[in-house]
Subunit: 242 residues, 4 copies
């Protein structure tokens, strides 16, 4: 069942330790088959060195396991909620990468201070507010998805243009059209947080990019006028998204 997607989700999960984004088992990637309304996600708490493609768990949009012997990631209800409300996204990555978590702990957006961030994110990466006691004690992981979607609605953000969020006191979620792309975005977010941290310490002010530079860099890589990279069939693999 969804064997090709399982392999891709497995491969994307295995990228997380290679990119320095996870310690131990603290991360997970899922990807959705929109036609079938099912997504594939990493099992909970399994060490990366022991993970196999066939260990991936198939889950429906209500977060119920459809196939698999292992428990899915405990964050599964968050993934399900995001897939139900961000209808264009194809995959989600969650990590505890340390620069991103530092901003989440500080309950601060990652400000778009350089083109490194603007190449991928059309503006600041928002920090969604902390969940309150009731939200935590009722359906924590579902409500985590809810505060994310509410924050995007409140700020009128397009999840395709800003494919990332910080959950206050917790950490980052990123997404994208594919499992690989959501992992790519998780790495860009981490590097952007590192740069923003040092820039803030140098200046002690938020030095946001002007709108026209944000537009320039974001649309160099996105949309119909994009001119970065190769747009032919000759270049494959990583190149496709970079």
């Amino acid at each position: 069942m969804l064997e090709t997607l399982k392999q891709r989700v497995y491969d994307a999960n295995m990228q997380l330790p290679k990119l320095g984004l996870v310690t131990f088992t603290w991360g997970n990637v899922s990807a959705i088959d929109r036609q079938q309304g099912l997504f594939v996600i990493k099992p909970s708490g399994v060490a990366y060195e022991q993970l196999r493609p066939q260990d991936m768990v198939v889950v429906n949009l209500q977060g119920q396991v459809v196939e698999g012997d292992l428990n899915p990631s405990s964050d599964t209800p968050t993934h399900a909620y995001l897939y139900r409300h961000f209808l264009t996204i194809g995959a989600i990555t969650h990590t505890h990468s340390p620069w991103a978590v530092a901003f989440a702990a500080a309950e601060m957006d990652i400000p778009a201070v350089s083109t490194t961030q603007a190449d991928t994110f059309y503006g600041d990466i928002p920090c969604a507010p902390a969940l309150n006691e009731q939200q935590i004690n009722t359906a924590y992981e579902l409500n985590t998805g809810k505060v994310i979607v509410d924050e995007f609605n409140k700020r009128q953000l397009d999840p395709d243009a800003v494919p990332a969020v910080l959950v206050s006191q917790h950490g980052p979620f990123t997404w994208g059209e594919s499992a690989e792309k959501s992992v790519y975005n998780a790495k860009v977010l981490e590097v952007s947080a590192e740069i923003a941290y040092h820039s803030l310490q140098l200046t002690h002010r938020n030095s946001h990019l002007p709108q026209y530079l944000l537009d320039k860099h974001y649309y160099r890589k996105h949309g119909q006028h994009a001119y970065y990279g190769q747009h032919s069939a000759e270049v494959k693999g990583h190149a496709a998204h970079a």
Copy 2:
């Protein structure tokens, strides 16, 4: 004598350089056989690349060598004292990991500012007070254990819920039910210190998690209502503790 435990303590010690937690020989792991009242500990000052399972030293709860040709870690009396007073712990790890030592040098607790810490530690990681001149000059390593236990008593902390401490001006000790788990806790402590440092620099305030989020994340992974990870016989090794 205790050959299985020696192998496990050896393996756990060898994890320290792999996890980036030690420079040169600055770390040690021990584990106890509670039935026999004996623990196994790394020899003092032996390079990791030269260490062998049979080099591990067997020590009794008074810190006296029972078997082994090499001197045990100079921190042996600290380990012995902790085993005598924290009766539920099965293993202890000591390192000089740099983020943790920075907090110890600053004589500050590592505040629980994110779920990364709360997943493992039920609150702040306490910094025990500096030893005074008499404590240092009489039985330094024993008294190091004493200030740790006294601090836990004074703060009414449960060592199973907060399996770590900083010794002021010195560095971290962590513990757990097994050698592997105490090393795991040493790594979580180091990552938590790194995150807390950057968060403090961003906000210049201690942004502690609220109690209900602390409860949520800690009990997601601990106690009878834990639902993180796999609780079957199918998943082994690292996964068991993660």
Copy 3:
């Protein structure tokens, strides 16, 4: 066509990930054949692990592709402009290395606070001003080259003595007599930025080197009185520039 130069540019590009200077595809190196008025540059957005020497693109000084199936780096007009105006340089490197980008985001020069910087750069590494809206919306990459050259002219800097610049809100460009040397300079710039950052945080003042120390270290390695390194035919490769 220019096969030897392609190989050298390929080799220099491959040094970028090895030196920890690039994430994903965020960097490029070019080198020029001054006699033919053509330069060789990395194709746009191709992953390093897939790159081959024959993928390098040959471009003329107007930035037009002369040979190659792939799109050249999107930064090609910046490279072309710099080659047209800095007539002594033989190669250019661009990266998004994070310490350098932090200074660029803060719109600060990298101050020459230690001999590590002065050994390679004769003074501060200038941060060229941010492009304005018109500069960005007309010919962004060409105008990036223009603000660099204008800043060097305004400050009366010699591009051979200060072979590097930060573009505000964006990142570093370095250059040199060869592809390899421009990469070397990119690494020195990154280390210099890291050191300057920490020094600034310790002192909260710019602690510039005095002119005589700048002279001493710079001219120990450059010019006819240089006495660092080997000046015989016996030592080859990296040693030649170090």
Copy 4:
């Protein structure tokens, strides 16, 4: 000539990149044969991957080459001066390790804020004052040695007890009884600088260890009452100094 010493100096030099202490060729180790009054030092500006034991240069205490086809390190007169005035030392290491250089650029001592430093250095690591214009323009490298020795005399420091110094605006020199030990001290200095930096940023005060803790940790590892490590013939190699 001095083939055994050449091999040891070569091995020690090769440790520098392995321990993350050098970028490119920015470091050198020498060691002395006190009976012959000759020391062996790395050649100037040769890449580590090309270095061979037979490339080491033999120099006398006046800094003149006695054997070797290559130029010795440009820092040779500094080494020679230190050997002439610190009569008990057997080897010297110089690096541009970045945490240490940050303190040197800030012209600050590395304060002894934790036992990590006190285990190796009996107190703060002094920052020698910057050379003045005349000192730089006459015999720069010799005068670098002179300001180091003068600072130790002025502060009445014992170079065996504090086997390291920072030269203002430049970087660290360390020494020891053997080439290997001087490299060991260079690594401890770098880690100590990293810890002290973060501790200072957390507290914004110098939190020096009290004298009795300094005594305890230093003399645990040094002198006739040392009890750290193994003092038998059974443990060899790195263990001997750790």
